[in-house]
Point group: C2
Chain length 433, copies 2
């Protein structure tokens, strides 16, 4: 049974605060282990990678075998059905088209003093994408990480993916090929992150590392941050559906289960202005849970972290949504565009009853790497901007230095930074002398 | 004596790699202390702030005195010279005008299936700005952090600043007032960061914390990251000047000293295609160091981390610059715009001999909070984007769901995420049924 809350109840605020504050994830403290692995890879390079891969993935490799060959990728393509390959291509094309529109513009202008000002965007030179092995090895995540990097103009994009016992999902290789990945290495865990950050004989270092991973990978990303850039550290997935009574309860139930089936720690919340509709959705969830393949995951998620909240009206729903700041927000209401104007803190919004969140996971176009754990209050999903950086540009003329230099001299003096001031004074003296 | 390197020397690569890898900063390990302070502030709120302020800043306060009053700000304005106030206003106006141009645009379009796609930017609701006390309490940094937040549309901007022994730089209060800061609290250190992140009875929590600080502040920002957003953790300042022989050696020397006077760990590097010019600049530095007020800081910085590198030509200079990825880059050459096309990894570029870096610290317009320690390879200076987040939007029509839904079903199935697939199937069945 999920929690049933009602804003009309006297204890609502307390229950809602408890729901917001629920600790859904126990992060094992693997930091010491990870520090050791990173130090080992820095010290011994490929030799450490080979040893750690033998230990964790039960694979005996030569360093020369760390890289997955073009022939292996071609074999994967041959092993995948045409239907699946085409579905990946549909997804890739839509993701590419969406992210191409995100490319920011350079700017340059001349101000009233004659100074030229502006900025310029440029891509990071090399990026690394971590792809998990096993069950969480999602080809869709390869597309969602690799395509923005390539759209941004990253010249060298390396993928690392563990292949425990030699097993790899061929769709991951096909997705990498479609997305334009340049290099793929069969290595995982903290050792892969260390190799991407510091480089080994076989793997050249990158400037930015993105992609999901387990606690070891997350700890390694935190540790190499600063040496390289990283994307966010994602927590368990979340969905908030705001739905009025004019919806099919089964559709909404399936949307809630789409998140719940990811992880026992995932959270699915329904907010509705019709208590009876909320009960109907909960009943539909129970019915679907009887047969769902991943009911052993979705069931506990719904039971432990699921919630159905009844509100007086949609204004109240929007206010609660902003406090939750959900990763995914579905607006299944009569005028979703109007309601979306009020829901400002959310990673991705899906408008209307024909936009199940699963569309966004695969083929909608927007990125599915999104801020979790209320971080949509201050952060955004993955985009081309994660693979770009901005350089500011300024060029003074003698006239502009005469116009604004004196203010710089005064401020430098007030901050006791004499050389700062003198660097302006020496030029003004020459110009005015 | 700084290092003198020449790309024509056989040991250049080794010397240059050593220069790049030089560890300039010893970060004391204060993490355990900081963890305790944060836990204390979370547990006891204002009472902890009052106690810690008594201990570290030797100030006995009531909780009601934590906030600096409007009358105190007015008194500070009265205590500052008109010249200084006007200089701050010149700087603020130029910073505001530059950052206003950074505001990104929302987007919405309809794709070929009839689906509506787009994104929307929104400001973080509340931001906190840490301002150091004592010598490093720079009013220019208040402007550089606060103005982008206000341009972005942050509704509530709170400043924390320690006032050891009751002392505060009145220019900091004036800068806060000019920048539109909403609240100012006399609290510093890790306790200020904890209060901003978690809130106390007096200080409401914020969503994003920016601003420079000592090792305690940096460790606290790392610890609260995730609960709130943070800006970068900045290292010691750096400048790289690329200059040909047609420059005044004294001007270049002063530019190098502008960074060196910040910190003994700061790094100033000159690259020139004329060895004699390099020697002339080094001689000019020595002369300036005889009288510079902060020679006890600038001298060791130049001696320990300074370098003069002679190159064969400017192409070589650009290649080295990209490996250094400097925070500040001055291009004092005949055609700086052309050279700037080659120098892609840099936080801020200053073009031509009339653009000393100090202009950018105060009144140029671009932000002076910039990526250090080679992180310009993957990150950017502070901007309005640091106070905004992007929500993606998508709305399928029945036709677009018919067009792209089947690909989503196939991919969901291939990832063994049945509920994802069924959430699409249920809708397609109804549409096609």
């Amino acid at each position: 049974m999920p929690q049933f809350l009602n804003t009309a109840d006297s204890d609502f605020e307390q229950s809602f605060a408890a729901l917001l504050g629920a600790k859904r994830e126990d992060s094992p403290d693997v930091d010491a282990v990870v520090a050791g692995i990173i130090a080992d890879v820095r010290a011994r390079g490929d030799a450490a990678l080979v040893e750690l891969t033998a230990k964790f993935d039960r694979m005996e490799l030569d360093p020369a075998q760390l890289r997955i060959t073009g022939a292996e990728v071609e074999a994967a393509i041959a092993a995948v059905s045409a239907e699946e390959r085409e579905a990946l291509e549909v997804a890739a094309e839509r993701i590419r088209a969406y992210h191409a529109r995100q490319m920011p513009e350079d700017a340059q202008w001349t101000d009233e003093t004659g100074a030229s000002l502006g900025w310029r965007w440029s891509a990071v030179s090399a990026a690394g994408l971590y792809v998990p092995g096993g069950l969480a090895s999602y080809p869709s995540s390869v597309l969602m990480n690799a395509i923005p990097a390539k759209v941004a103009g990253v010249q060298r994009l390396a993928v690392t993916v563990p292949t425990p016992d030699g097993q790899i999902n061929p769709l991951v290789l096909v997705a990498a090929k479609i997305a334009g990945v340049d290099e793929i290495y069969r290595v995982g865990g903290a050792q892969a992150v260390a190799a991407l950050a510091y480089g080994t004989e076989t793997i050249a270092p990158v400037d930015k590392i993105t992609g999901p991973g387990n606690a070891f990978v997350a700890a390694a990303k935190r540790r190499v941050f600063g040496k390289v850039g990283i994307d966010m550290i994602a927590g368990p997935s979340e969905i908030l559906v705001i739905a009025d009574k004019d919806n099919n309860p089964d559709w909404i139930a399936l949307d809630l289960m789409s998140q719940a089936e990811h992880d026992e720690s995932a959270q699915s919340i329904l907010i509705t202005d019709d208590e009876g509709f909320g009960l109907a959705v909960a009943a539909a969830v129970d019915k679907r849970l009887e047969t769902l393949e991943r009911r052993a995951i979705a069931g506990p998620s719904w039971r432990d972290f699921g919630a159905v909240i009844t509100v007086r009206d949609l204004d109240e729903a929007a206010a609660l949504s902003n406090r939750i700041a959900p990763e995914h927000l579905e607006l299944c209401v009569k005028d979703p565009a109007a309601l979306s104007q009020q829901t400002v803190h959310a990673g991705a919004i899906f408008l209307g009853q024909f936009t199940p969140e699963a569309i966004g996971d695969y083929v909608g176009g927007p990125n599915h790497v999104l801020p979790t754990a209320r971080s949509a209050r201050f952060s955004s999903g993955l985009s081309v901007l994660d693979f770009l950086k901005r350089t500011t540009l300024s060029q003074m003329t003698p006239d502009s230095l005469r116009a604004i230099g004196p203010a710089a001299e005064i401020l430098a003096h007030s901050e006791s930074l004499q050389a700062h001031g003198l660097s302006v004074t020496a030029r003004l003296d020459a110009l005015n002398g």
